[in-house]
């Protein structure tokens, strides 16, 4: 979004001004205020984000059943990781499902959102209605989305009743096949994701200077060419956000799967696996922490590379 542009510009110009001002104009009091304003949130951030994150990484090298204090936590090195990669069959399923989720969002759901945004941006008849309709799913939390779609797709649910199956035992099973249920879930997830992407792009397209389009059409560019070479590149700030959101949404996928069957029967995803190992009576804190660390690295990797690449070009 253009907000990022403004911020980077502001930061750049502020730096120049600041260098001159800082030395003479800041009183002790100013400095104390600035220290407080910057330091307070920093301390909160470190205490509530970085310390738990570091503790999680440390715990991922330990074995602990969640009972007792520090002396009950045993250091086991990389054992949790080797066991997760070699023994834990759910991990492979989770990794497969998160990868499918990412690919599906990246290659199908997000492009569909762009297409919708592109057509809605043309102010066709009923644009407002469609805009609202596509955006509506975002208003619901994913947990609610999960409950709604679970009622529709479960074996004695709405869809099967509409299709005329009254016997749950002979009705089509949408969530029952461990190799196919992920696709049903991806369809449901797209229902929400497409609207989200549409909104982000629509906001971006509204801010594209109309003169760019005019210039392109005067130069004789076709619609597709204009989109590809003029509109899309000018949406770069939006693209950054969209890529980051898509990667994070795909990797942190939790709510839908948890509500449908708690990641059982071939539907496991990493976030649910973390939760199931850390919570409840059967706590394997170290194991869960190792899964969380793997998820953290997976999220961090692509996002850092992407952000780094993009902001480097901006400078």
């Amino acid at each position: 979004m253009s907000k990022i542009d403004i911020e980077t510009k502001a930061a750049a110009s502020g730096e120049n001004l600041g260098r001159r001002r800082r030395s003479n104009n800041f009183t002790k009091r100013d400095r104390a205020v600035i220290a407080g304003l910057v330091g307070g949130p920093t301390i909160l951030h470190v205490v509530f984000v970085w310390l738990p994150a570091i503790a999680t990484i440390l715990l991922s090298f330990c074995q602990w059943d969640g009972i007792g204090g520090l002396h009950d936590i045993h250091w086991v090195g990389f054992k949790n990781y080797t066991q997760i990669f070699t023994l834990y069959s759910d991990f492979k399923i989770a990794l497969r499902n998160n990868t499918l989720w990412l690919l599906w969002f990246g290659l199908i759901a997000t492009p569909l959102g762009v297409v919708l945004a592109y057509y809605l941006d043309k102010n066709l008849k009923g644009t407002k209605f469609f805009q609202t309709a596509f955006y509506l799913p975002i208003v619901l939390s994913l947990a609610v989305t999960g409950i709604i779609w679970d009622y529709i797709f479960k074996v004695n649910g709405f869809l099967n009743i509409v299709l005329g199956y009254t016997n749950a035992d002979t009705a089509p099973s949408w969530f029952g096949d461990p190799h196919k249920n992920i696709w049903v879930v991806l369809g449901i997830a797209s229902w929400r994701h497409i609207g989200y992407m549409m909104l982000l792009y629509l906001a971006g397209m509204k801010s594209v200077d109309p003169s760019l389009r005019e210039a392109a059409s005067i130069d004789g560019a076709g619609e597709w060419y204009t989109f590809r070479k003029v509109i899309f590149p000018s949406l770069r700030p939006v693209n950054i956000i969209v890529v980051v959101v898509t990667v994070i949404e795909a990797l942190r996928a939790f709510d839908l799967v948890y509500i449908i069957n708690r990641g059982k029967n071939g539907l496991q995803v990493l976030a649910v696996a973390v939760y199931e190992n850390i919570l409840g009576e059967s706590q394997r804190i170290g194991w869960g922490a190792a899964l969380a660390t793997i998820l953290f690295v997976l999220c961090l990797g692509p996002i850092m590379i992407y952000l780094y690449q993009n902001f480097k070009k901006v400078d």
Binding site: Q63, D65, G66, I67, G68, H74, Q83, L87, Y88, S89, D90, K154, V155, N156, N167, A168, D169, T170, A171, S173, W174, F175, G176, D177, P178, N261, R262, K264, N265, G266, E276, N277, L279, G280, E281, S282, Q283, R284
Partner: protein
């Protein structure tokens, strides 16, 4: 651990019953240990952690709480949603737990006892012991031989069926003794277009009941308990015998088992689309229509190896434990434990739930036919198991074993599954 899977429906809730029939039982008869507690504990304050959050369970809970209040207890109730209670039990017990809380017999109780998170109650048992049979006494002890648990109620697992469906198909349930009888009956129902065995395992825990039965019918009770405790390896060829026997009834089980919870499967029984279900008797609570409920009956899981007959049954016991915080409020907490163990507790609930089954042997036998069948079933058995997830390690039962069973039901190779189970057992931290 199974509660975690239950999608909000509590399987552990005391069996709900809507049939009238059993006479109301007067409180104040033989209260045993609680009578002396009465005099000494006027207005004794105890905090109580309750996981009885289902409407029917709340009704039962309130009934005995009123009786306890009348007996002079001032109970500070902390009622938590059933699934939440299960999920947070470790944190709860290590934090500031209530003095007395709902729990289960079996490994899950002994585990907390051995971690020092509960308070032993040998002195309470000195008062209430005479009212319980040896089976309950053993089920209430920790691994150190001390008493920790006060048993209240229980329910058996069996083959539930509808009398009218059996009559219409000309099948006599009392003649289903052996595995061959069972399969023959399944074939009759299948030919009539009725699902022989309603089966749901979406939650992952439900199939453990069927596994337990087939396993101790095939290999004996001792083998089963050794297997759940890890004393026998999953790679033992006898485990394959169990899986193979199970496979022989696959054609008669619900096809959509992995997309149905237990109550979805029970609904098939209620709608007469299925003939039988291997389930806990608590499923009777889902039969809302009294006519349907009167049509419900059970028979013991059929014999597989004649050497073991039908000598074992699953009959999980529910009850109460004292947390470590009870040590600071010992006299009041133990008085409440004695009250819970007495017939005063059970009678108060029996008034509102006449079909519930009691651990206390001084309670009158139920008059409801289905409840009586349950009592007779358990009395006819030499061995009682608690259910896989109460007999085995929680960290094995819930994430590992339930997933393995789902894979098996989906058609997975049982040899590979057993090998994987053993590898995962070996990878668990020492208990």
């Amino acid at each position: 651990m199974s509660e975690i899977f239950e999608d909000g429906i509590s399987r552990r809730s005391v069996i709900k019953g809507s049939i009238a029939g059993a006479g109301a039982l007067a409180v104040g008869g033989a209260i045993g240990g609680a009578t002396e507690a009465n005099a000494a504990t006027r207005a004794l304050t105890v905090s109580l952690g309750s996981n009885q959050s289902d409407p029917a369970a709340v009704k039962n809970d309130n009934a005995w709480l009123a009786a306890a209040k009348a007996a002079g207890f001032n109970i500070k109730l902390n009622r938590v949603d059933h699934n939440t209670f299960q999920n947070q039990i470790n944190q709860y017990l290590q934090g500031t737990p209530d003095n007395v809380f709902n729990w289960f017999a079996g490994y899950r109780m002994q585990f907390f006892a051995s971690k020092g998170l509960t308070t032993s109650i040998n002195d309470v048992w000195a008062k209430i012991g005479s009212q319980f049979t040896a089976g309950y006494k053993n089920a209430s002890k920790g691994l150190d031989g001390k008493y920790y648990f006060v048993p209240t109620g229980w329910y058996p697992w069996a083959v539930l069926y509808r009398k009218s469906v059996f009559a219409a198909a000309g099948v006599d349930a009392s003649k289903i003794i052996t595995w061959a009888d069972f399969i023959a009956a399944c074939k009759v129902f299948q030919a009539k277009g009725i699902t022989p065995i309603a089966f749901g395992d979406k939650g992952g825990w439900e199939a453990m009941g069927t596994f337990d039965f087939i396993n101790f019918r095939t290999n004996g009770f001792k083998f089963h308990m050794d297997l759940t405790a890890g004393r026998v390896k999953w790679t033992d060829p006898r485990v394959q015998k169990t899986f193979n026997n199970w496979k022989s009834i696959f054609p008669y089980q619900s096809k959509n088992a992995l997309d149905m919870n237990w109550d979805d499967a029970t609904a098939l029984l209620i709608n007469k689309k299925a003939a039988m279900q291997v389930m806990g008797a608590f499923a009777a609570g889902n039969f809302k229509d009294p006519a349907d409920l009167a049509d419900l009956a059970l028979f013991p899981f059929p014999q597989i190896d004649p050497a073991y007959g039908r000598e074992a049954v699953e009959a999980p016991i529910d009850g109460y434990l004292l947390s470590k915080s009870a040590a600071k409020n010992a006299s009041a907490s133990k008085a409440l434990a004695a009250f819970i163990g007495s017939t005063a507790y059970a009678s108060a609930i029996a008034k509102v739930s006449p079909t519930a089954l009691w651990a206390n042997s001084n309670m009158p036998k139920p008059t409801d036919p289905f409840a009586r069948q349950q009592v007779e079933l358990v009395q006819s058995c030499k061995y009682i198991a608690q259910f896989f997830d109460r007999d085995s390690r929680p960290d094995f039962a819930s994430p590992i074993f339930s997933n393995a069973l789902q894979k098996f039901i989906a058609g997975g190779d049982s040899v590979a599954i057993a090998k994987d189970l053993q590898a995962q057992w070996d990878a668990l931290p020492p208990a």
